[in-house]
């Protein structure tokens, strides 16, 4: 391969790597809406470092409580929010402790 072609290939790889690094380095917030006694979406996939925001639009308190105890919001009052930074990869099932039939899942990649 000519030398200039090799340099171009290396530069391209560096650029791709930089873009990937940038995308990893920019955590973002994603929202789970609590609406009509349902978590919407029921399953949400986020990246490590992202913040998950549960927004309670109902008129009664709800909670988001991980079954493996990774988090527990306690009561999120009506029209309130609760945030959690997802640091560890994995699949997390959670529920509302006040209404146990309300279930959701957070997948952290």
């Amino acid at each position: 391969m000519p030398r200039h072609a090799s340099l171009a290939a290396v530069a391209s790889l560096c650029l791709l790597g930089a873009i990937a690094a940038c995308s990893r380095a920019a955590p973002r917030a994603q929202t789970v809406k609590i609406q009509n006694f349902v978590f919407v979406p029921a399953e949400l996939t986020v990246a490590r470092g992202d913040t998950v925001v549960w927004s309670n639009t109902d008129f009664v308190p709800h909670s988001t409580t991980a079954r493996n105890s990774a988090w527990d919001s306690k009561a999120i009052e009506a029209n309130g929010n609760w945030r959690f930074v997802a640091r560890d990869a994995g699949r997390y099932d959670y529920y509302c402790v006040f209404h146990p039939n309300m279930k959701g899942t957070i997948v952290v990649r």
Binding site: N36, F37, V38, D58, F59, V60, P61, A78, F98, H99, P100, N101, M102
Partner: protein
């Protein structure tokens, strides 16, 4: 029917009566449109059928508001008792949730009737609900331990199912004001969630005998 066979026959009976009465009222209201599609054999009757609008309304918004508030109060009162007398964490927690959630529903209802300047109107259904609720409380007061837990949860399952039926078949279809109808639609998921929760506890009680 023996009270021992049905935890709260009066409350249940009241709610069944609501559904039955207003379902019949609903049937009456649909008689006229039905005549329009009737077979030719009954066609002449169409000309003499009074207009549907002339029929008295089955239930008005002020009465619906009163029924909703009463249904909340009845279940909150039972929840307060369960907080005190429940013998398991599940029953006590359920009682607390009923108090909290029905308090939330009630707050919404009061805010709406205040905004609409409507005074909830007492009616026979509300009276029956209240009487049934009082009878349920009186019965629960005589029980303790697992017997209390079972009677309370059995009643909660029956009560929430009956209230849901009344919401779907009577209250929402008869509500005239859009905001009142919207409120009923908004509180419906609460009753559905409570029903599922109560059924889960009931299933656990059946398994464990507790």
């Amino acid at each position: 029917m023996s009270p021992s066979r049905l935890t709260n026959p009066k409350v249940l009976g009241s709610l069944i009566a609501i559904s039955a009465f207003f379902s019949l009222a609903g049937c009456k209201k649909t008689e006229t449109p039905a005549a329009d599609t009737a077979s030719p054999a009954v066609a002449p009757a169409r000309d003499t059928t009074p207009p549907a609008a002339a029929a008295a309304p089955a239930i008005n918004d002020a009465q619906i508001a009163h029924i909703a508030v009463t249904a909340d109060a009845v279940d909150s009162a039972a929840g307060e008792l369960a907080k005190k007398k429940g013998s398991t964490k599940a029953v006590k927690s359920f009682g607390q949730t009923m108090v909290t959630d029905h308090g939330g529903v009630n707050k919404q209802a009061v805010a709406l009737v205040t905004k609409l300047n409507v005074t909830p109107e007492d009616n026979d259904t509300s009276k029956q609900l209240k009487a049934g609720g009082d009878a349920n409380l009186a019965k629960l007061e005589t029980l303790s331990g697992a017997a209390f837990d079972k009677a309370y949860i059995d009643n909660e399952v029956a009560y929430h199912q009956a209230v849901l039926d009344a919401i779907d078949k009577t209250l929402i279809p008869n509500a005239k004001n859009a905001e009142l109808k919207g409120l009923l639609e908004k509180v419906r998921p609460a009753f559905a969630a409570h029903l599922e929760h109560a059924k889960s506890i009931q299933a656990t009680q059946s398994k464990t005998g507790a």
